[in-house]
C-alpha cells in the first residue's frame, strides 16, 4: 500500500484529506466525527469578529437527477465565541495529536490579528489559515474577499501575521479576482508558508419565478452567495495549476473546490496541490465519503507504482502550456465502435448544429451493420467523415456510452509546428506568413 501520509508546509497528517473551513468544521463534536471517519486534518470554521447569521443561508444548483452539482451560501464565519473555539481546538488536539487542526482566522486590525494568531498558537493548532476569501457579508466590512482582491492589502495583513506566527501560515485565496497569481505572489512576498485555493465564487444560483427572489431568501431578499461544489472544480483546477506553474509563487498548495472523491483529489495533486480540502461533498453526504478517498487514492498510487504521494504532486503541471505552444500539425479524428453504439444520434446533432458538420446519418446496410443500433429495423446511424473531422472531441463528449466514440490520432508526415515556432520561422524568413482570410 502506498504511503498516504502527508506533509503540507511542515504540517503532518495521516493522509492528504482535510475538512475545509466551513459548516462541517464548526465544533469539536464534528471534528471528532471527521477524524473517526478517517479525515487526516481539518481547518476550523473561521474564528473572528462577532457576527450574527441569517436564515436561510444555502441554495443549490441541481442538474437533471443530480442534486447540488453546485452550491452556494451566505453563511458568515463562526458565530460562536473565539474562547469556545480555541478551547475546543485544544481539546481536539489532545485526543488527536497526529491529526492536523488548523485555525482559520478573520479579524480586522493589526492588534486583533496579532492577538488571534497568538491564541491559535496557545491552543495547539498546527497552523493558521488566513481567510481572505469569503465573498459575502464579511467583505462588506473590509474583510474576506475585500482583502483577497487587493494583493497589496493581503500582503500587508499577512506580514502582520508573520510577525507573530510560530506555526505555518496558509493564505486562502479568493477566486473572485482576474489573476489568481497576483494574490498568490503577494502571499509569497509577505512570507506566508503556503496557499490554499479556491474560496467560493460570487454567485446567484437561481431565481424563484413565483416570488422573483433568488435563493437563499431572507425575508423577501437574497444576497450574492459563495459558490462551490462539483461545478467549480474546473475553475479551481485551473487556478491551482496557474499557481503551481508560477515560479514567483513557489509555495505548497492546498487544493480546494469541488473535491468529492479520490479522483478529484488525485487531479488536484497532479496539478500541483500537496493536499486537498473538502466541504460541500461532506455537507451533501457526510464525513463517510473519506473512506473511498483513502482507499481509492492508495490503490491508484499502487497501480501506478508510486510509493508515496509526493511522486504524484505536480505531475501534470507542465502538461498545461500556453496555446501558442501546441502542435498545429497534430491530427485526431473520431471513431465510432458500432458494437457499442446505441443509436441515440446525439453525436450527429451535436456535430451538425454545434460543431463542424462532419457526421452523416446513413442506412445501417450501407456500412455493413445488420440490425442498426437503436433496435429499430433500418434506422439510420451516424458515420463520421474522417476527412472533414477536425478532431474537436464534441461527439465523444456527448456520447452516453463509455468508449463508444474514441478519438484516434492520425499520423502524418508533417513536423511538429506550434504557433510561436511558426511566427519565429516567418520572422526568420524560412516560411511564408499565413495568408489573410479571403
Amino acid at each position: 500500500m502506498a504511503d498516504l501520509s502527508s506533509n503540507f508546509a511542515g504540517i503532518k497528517s495521516p493522509n492528504p484529506f482535510w475538512v475545509a473551513s466551513g459548516p462541517p468544521s464548526n465544533t469539536a463534536y464534528q471534528t471528532h466525527r471527521a477524524f473517526e471517519a478517517g479525515w487526516g486534518g481539518l481547518v476550523w470554521k473561521t474564528i473572528g469578529t462577532p457576527i450574527v447569521n441569517v436564515a436561510s443561508r444555502y441554495s443549490a444548483l441541481n442538474f437533471g437527477n443530480q442534486r447540488m452539482i453546485g452550491f452556494n451560501n451566505i453563511e458568515l464565519i463562526s458565530d460562536r465565541a473565539p474562547e469556545t473555539n480555541f478551547l475546543e481546538i485544544a481539546e481536539v488536539k489532545k485526543r488527536w495529536p497526529n491529526h492536523a487542526v488548523i485555525a482559520s482566522l478573520m479579524v480586522e486590525t493589526r492588534e486583533e490579528w496579532r492577538e488571534f494568531v497568538k491564541r491559535a498558537a496557545d491552543c495547539g493548532a498546527d497552523g493558521i489559515e488566513l481567510n481572505y476569501g469569503c465573498p459575502h457579508g464579511m467583505c462588506e466590512r473590509g474583510m474576506g474577499s475585500a482583502v483577497g482582491q487587493q494583493p497589496e492589502v493581503a500582503e500587508r495583513i499577512t506580514s502582520w501575521v508573520m510577525e507573530t506566527a510560530t506555526s505555518p501560515v496558509i493564505v486562502k485565496l479568493t477566486p473572485n479576482i482576474t489573476d489568481i497569481t497576483a494574490a498568490a505572489r503577494a502571499a509569497k512576498r509577505a512570507g506566508a508558508n503556503a496557499i490554499s485555493l479556491i474560496n467560493t465564487i460570487n454567485s446567484i444560483t437561481n431565481v424563484n419565478l413565483d416570488t422573483f427572489v433568488p435563493e437563499p431568501t431572507v425575508a423577501g431578499l437574497s444576497s450574492h452567495g459563495g459558490y462551490c461544489g462539483p461545478a467549480v472544480k474546473p475553475i479551481a483546477l485551473n487556478m491551482v495549476q496557474c499557481c503551481a506553474a508560477d515560479p514567483k509563487v513557489a509555495l505548497p498548495i492546498s487544493g480546494i473546490g469541488g473535491v468529492a472523491n479520490w479522483r478529484d483529489a488525485a487531479e488536484f495533486i497532479a496539478l500541483g496541490a500537496t493536499n486537498v480540502q473538502v466541504c460541500t461533498a461532506i455537507m451533501h453526504y457526510g464525513f463517510r465519503i473519506v473512506q473511498d478517498m483513502n482507499e481509492g487514492l492508495s490503490t491508484y498510487l499502487d497501480s501506478k507504482g508510486m510509493q508515496s504521494l509526493e511522486e504524484l504532486v505536480g505531475k501534470s503541471v507542465r502538461n498545461v502550456n500556453e496555446w501558442k505552444d501546441l502542435d498545429l500539425n497534430f491530427q485526431r479524428v473520431a471513431r465510432i465502435e458500432y458494437d457499442k453504439c446505441i443509436g441515440c444520434n446525439l453525436c450527429y446533432i451535436a456535430c451538425e448544429d454545434g460543431a463542424h458538420q462532419c457526421i452523416d446519418l446513413v442506412a445501417p446496410e450501407s456500412i455493413g451493420v445488420d440490425l442498426g443500433p437503436g433496435r429499430v429495423p433500418h434506422k439510420v446511424l451516424p458515420k463520421i467523415r474522417e476527412d472533414d473531422c477536425v478532431g474537436c472531441n464534441l461527439c465523444s463528449l456527448v456520447c452516453p456510452v463509455h468508449n463508444c466514440i474514441t478519438m484516434v490520432e492520425i499520423k502524418n508526415d508533417k513536423p511538429r509546428m506550434s504557433w510561436s515556432e511558426l511566427q519565429d520561422r516567418v520572422a526568420r524568413g524560412e516560411m511564408k506568413p499565413i495568408p489573410p482570410h479571403p
Binding site: G64, N65, I342, G343, C344, N345, L346, Y348, I349, L361, A363, L371, P373, G374, R375, V376, P377, H378, K379, V380, P400, V401
Partner: protein, 492 residues
C-alpha cells in the same frame, strides 16, 4: 343469462382499477430526466403517430407540462388514451436506446399519461381550431380512433367535419373494447370532447346505408373517410356454439363497458378460444370478475400466437393456463348449460397444414366459453356501400399507405377496415395521414406532413418517420428478439 355475480361489486371495481398507476409529479421529473434526448430518436420512429417523444419528455423535465401535452396532442389527438392502451413495450419503449445501455427503457407511456392528464385535469386547452373555416364539408364514417384521428386533423386544417357513428356512443373500441384496467369508457368519452372542441360534429346512432345513403353523403360532402373498423367476432363453426354461455370476446368486453360490472356474466371455469391480445383481455377480465380457473385454447404454439409476449406474461401472471396445439370440436352441454368443451390435439402435417390428431380428443370442463378468434371483415357491407371499391385479399380496403386514398377518388380510409386490424395508435396515425390525403385531394397541393423538431422526418426514409412509415409492433418485437439472441450468443 343465469349467472350470478361471483364477487361483490366493490371487489370487482377494485380488481378493475388501473394496472399501471399514474406517475406522481416528482416521479415524472426523475423519469423524464433519465431520457437521453436522442436526435431522430428510435421511439419516434416506432410511434405510428410520430410523436416527438424526446421533445415532450424534455418539456416534462423542465416542468413545461402544457408544452409537453401540446407536443403529444398535436401529433396524436388520442394521445391520452394511447398513453394507456398502446403496447409501448413493443413500440416506443421497445425501441428505447437505453435497452442497449443495459438500463430500463424510459416509461414513455406513463410520462405521456402524466402530461395529457395534467392538461385534462386542469381543463387547459392546448389545441385550437383555426380562426376561419374553409367552408368545405368532409364526412367521416365511424367515430373510432381512425375516424377521430382524421376528423381532428381535418378540423385543424379548417374543414367542417361530420362524423357518423352507428353506436350510441362515439369512440369505437376505445369506448367499448379496451380492458377496463387500461382505460374506462368514461375516459374515452372525455377525450372525445377534445375532438369536439375543435369543431367536429359527431352524430351517433346513424346507420350508413339505412339512415343515410352514400348518395346523400356524396352530395353533401366533398370527400368521405371510411373508418368502420371490423365486424362481429368470427364464429367457431362447431356444434353447441349458440348456447348462451358461449360468448364473443368483444361482446363480453363491451358489456363490461356498458352494464354494471356485477351484472356481467362470467363462469367459474372459463375457456377462452384463441390467443391474440383480445383473448388475453378476456382472460384477465374474467379473472377480475371472479372466475376461478381460466384456460386458453390455441391451435398452434406459443411462437405463433399473436398476443404480445408481455400480454401473454400478464395472463400467466393472473393464473391462466395455456393449452397450446389443440382446437375445439364441440361445446358439451348438460341441462342446456355449457359443461365443457371437447378439444383435440393438433399437429402440422407434411403439407404444412394443421390437422387434428385422431384419438386425442378430451373434454375440458368449463361453464363458460369466450370466443376470441378474430373479427369478421367488412367486405359485404363495404361492397353494398361502394360497389366499385377495391378490396385486398385480406379483406381490407386497397389503401395508399401515405394518403389513405382508395380506388375511389373521393373516398379515403384508415384503421382496422383498411389495415385488417392493428393498434389504436395505428388507426389514429392512418386517420391523420388520410386527413392530409383529403387535403391534397381538395387543394391539389402536395401534402405537408407536420414534422416535429427532433426528427429527420421522411427525408431519411424509415428514419424518424413513424407516422409515414410505421413499424409493425410485431416487426419490432421480432427485431428485438433477434438482437437479444445475437447478444446472448456473443456473451457465451
Amino acid at each position: 343469462m343465469s349467472f350470478k355475480p361471483l364477487l361483490p361489486i366493490e371487489a370487482i371495481t377494485a380488481n378493475m382499477a388501473d394496472l399501471h398507476l399514474p406517475l406522481r409529479p416528482q416521479e415524472a421529473i426523475v423519469e423524464a430526466d433519465r431520457c437521453l434526448y436522442c436526435f431522430d430518436a428510435p421511439c419516434i420512429a416506432a410511434c405510428p403517430t410520430g410523436i416527438d417523444v424526446p421533445g415532450f419528455i424534455k418539456k416534462i423535465a423542465a416542468r413545461n407540462e402544457v408544452g409537453a401535452a401540446k407536443t403529444i396532442l398535436t401529433a396524436n389527438i388520442l394521445g391520452a388514451s394511447c398513453a394507456r392502451v398502446c403496447p409501448t413495450k413493443v413500440l416506443c419503449e421497445g425501441a428505447c436506446v437505453l435497452h442497449d445501455r443495459d438500463q430500463k427503457p424510459i416509461e414513455i407511456g406513463r410520462l405521456q399519461r402524466f402530461a395529457t392528464d395534467y392538461v385534462s385535469e386542469r381543463k387547459i386547452s392546448v389545441l385550437k381550431p383555426p380562426a376561419t373555416k374553409n367552408g368545405i364539408a368532409i364526412a367521416v364514417i365511424g367515430a373510432g380512433p381512425a375516424g377521430l384521428g382524421c376528423a381532428a386533423e381535418l378540423a385543424q386544417l379548417g374543414y367542417s367535419v361530420t362524423v357518423f357513428e352507428k353506436e350510441k356512443l362515439p369512440g369505437g373500441l376505445n369506448t367499448y373494447g379496451i380492458a377496463l384496467y387500461k382505460m374506462t369508457p368514461a375516459f374515452s368519452l372525455e377525450e372525445i370532447e377534445l375532438v369536439k372542441s375543435l369543431g367536429v360534429q359527431i352524430q351517433c346512432g346513424v346507420n350508413i346505408g339505412k339512415d343515410k345513403s352514400i348518395a346523400d353523403m356524396e352530395r353533401e360532402f366533398k370527400a368521405i373517410f371510411v373508418a368502420i373498423g371490423l365486424g362481429a367476432g368470427n364464429r367457431l363453426g362447431i356444434p353447441g356454439e349458440d348456447l348462451p354461455q358461449v360468448v364473443d370476446a368483444l361482446t363480453f368486453i363491451k358489456r363490461l363497458h356498458s352494464e354494471p360490472l356485477n351484472s356481467v356474466a362470467v363462469g367459474e371455469r372459463v375457456v377462452v378460444i384463441g390467443c391474440g391480445n383480445t383473448a388475453v383481455d378476456s382472460v384477465t377480465q374474467s379473472i377480475r370478475l371472479g372466475a376461478k380457473q381460466v384456460s386458453v385454447v390455441y391451435r398452434r404454439g406459443q411462437n405463433e400466437m399473436s398476443a404480445y409476449d408481455f400480454e401473454y406474461a400478464h395472463a400467466k401472471h393472473d393464473g391462466a393456463t395455456f393449452l397450446f396445439h389443440c382446437m375445439p370440436l364441440e361445446v358439451v352441454a348438460s341441462g342446456g348449460h355449457v359443461s365443457g368443451i371437447k378439444l383435440v390435439k393438433t399437429k402440422v402435417n407434411a403439407a404444412g397444414n394443421l390437422e387434428a390428431v385422431a384419438g386425442s380428443e378430451w373434454i375440458e370442463p368449463c361453464d363458460m366459453i369466450v370466443k376470441a378468434v378474430g373479427q369478421e371483415k367488412q367486405v359485404p357491407f363495404l361492397k353494398k356501400l361502394f360497389p366499385t371499391l377495391a378490396m385486398n385479399k385480406r379483406g381490407g380496403i386497397v389503401t395508399d399507405a401515405l394518403t389513405g386514398a382508395t380506388s375511389l377518388p373521393h373516398v379515403f380510409t384508415g384503421g382496422d377496415c383498411s389495415n385488417a386490424g392493428r393498434e389504436v395508435v395505428n388507426a389514429v396515425g392512418e386517420g391523420k395521414k388520410a386527413a392530409h390525403g383529403i387535403h391534397q385531394f381538395v387543394t391539389k397541393k402536395q401534402p405537408e406532413f407536420p414534422m416535429q423538431h427532433s426528427r429527420m422526418g421522411h427525408k431519411a426514409g424509415a428514419s424518424g418517420s413513424g407516422l409515414l412509415h410505421p413499424i409493425r409492433a410485431h416487426e419490432l418485437e421480432a427485431a428485438l428478439a433477434k438482437r437479444l439472441s445475437a447478444q446472448g450468443k456473443a456473451n457465451k
